[in-house]
Amino acid sequence: MKRKIGIIILLLILIYLIVLFIDKSIYKNYSKDLFYMDTYINIKLNTTESKKEIDVIFDDIDYLYSSYHKLTDRYHEYDGIINAYYLNELLPDNKEVIIDQRLADIIDIGIDYYNQTNGLFNIASGNLTEVWKEFIDDCAILPTTEDLNVNIDITDIKLNGNSYMKDNNVKIDLGAIAKGYVTELVGNYLEDNGIYSYVINAGGNVKVGNAYGKESFVIGITDPNDTSSIFTRVNINNKSVVTSGNYQRYCMLNGINYNHIINPKTRYPVADKQSVTVIGNNSVIADIYSTYLYILPLEDGLKLVNSNPDIEAIWYIDKDNIVRSDNFNYE
């Protein structure tokens, strides 16, 4: 009898060891919610790592989003941080300041894409987006042409390494690039730490890794006419998906939708489509292109995407007119 009990105890220890062993080898789901960059960020991971290790990783991700949030924030001041607010509101014209390399990198990409998009993607349009933001918030009196005649000349920004200087009170607006930029960083950070199966959803700026246990991740694209449902879905691995739409931030006045995406050439909100969704390998580029393609007329955008094998796009012009690029083949 005593020996029997001994064997049973040994067996229980064996079971315990098996549990420990499997725990190390099995894929588990983790999820984390964050609030930064005026948006809700959700990160889902599928990994063999233990909760303890993942908590460290989530803390690092929290730090990444929070530090970039502070750097790119144009509405708030933070102690000891030279951020977009400082550059826009506190820095006098023609005075050089040394900025954080991380912020300089983002501005650099912005300037680069200004040139690549013939000025349609303009991070120097802070003065203009400010006018429209005020209007959208109150939704009362349309800005006059005079109100809109503000300086958005990107050449007034002089960035040399990480030395920043501005002129004519030009203001930067990194809203169309920051989320994509950090999301890309976070994705790379996860992969560097051996986590390949993940979904990062930063306010609709989605980046996914390699699906585990199934063919691919399924990402739905919101229906602009019924934002509680989706109009199509895509099956992707190792891609980023970003949507720009007229339903995200807007004001309806006299039957006209004034949304937050402003064409810097016309200085008015884009009104000829409801949403554009871009799928790309890189979250920054997908983020930038979703804004760019939203501003660009459909024909030009279609031509552009069809000549670029790295990017897929779907245009929701209206309920009856949905256009896909040649390589956008799902469902």
């Binding site: 919610d33 809700y40 889902k44 399924v218 990402i219 934002t227 509680s228 969704t277």
Partner: protein, 118 residues
């Protein structure tokens, strides 16, 4: 088969029945919404019963309404009422996010969608 065997069979059938009923009462057909303030679970609500709930968010009370198996934010104090504009949801792939109030409503049901771009 003796009487003890029959007893244990009866016990198991009873146990299975109790478990089945108990679990199904708790389960509510998967239509549960969880209300979070940031990362903290405030409460879970049953979407099968039409009812209103009040939770406190960053900017004050947020009133939630459950109707016909769906949930929405009925009233809240944010400057632009974006989260009441988001309407009803009954899908896990479409959480309602009240940003200024930091309230998240997640419906827990099985969804084949991993995320939604919006």
């Amino acid at each position: 088969m003796n009487r003890s065997d029959l007893k244990i069979i009866a016990f198991i059938i009873l146990l299975a029945l109790v478990l089945y009923l108990g679990l199904n009462l708790m389960k509510k057909e998967g239509n549960i919404a969880s209300i979070y303030y940031e990362d903290d679970l405030l409460m879970t609500v049953d979407l099968n019963t039409d009812k209103e709930y009040v939770v406190s968010g960053q900017l004050g009370d947020v009133i939630l309404e459950v109707k016909n198996g769906k949930i929405r934010v009925k009233e809240e104090n944010s400057p632009r009422h974006l989260c009441s504009l988001q309407g009803y949801t009954n899908s896990s792939s479409k959480p309602i996010i009240c940003l200024p109030n930091k309230i998240i409503i997640k419906v827990s049901n099985v969804s084949d969608i991993d995320g939604v771009v919006y």
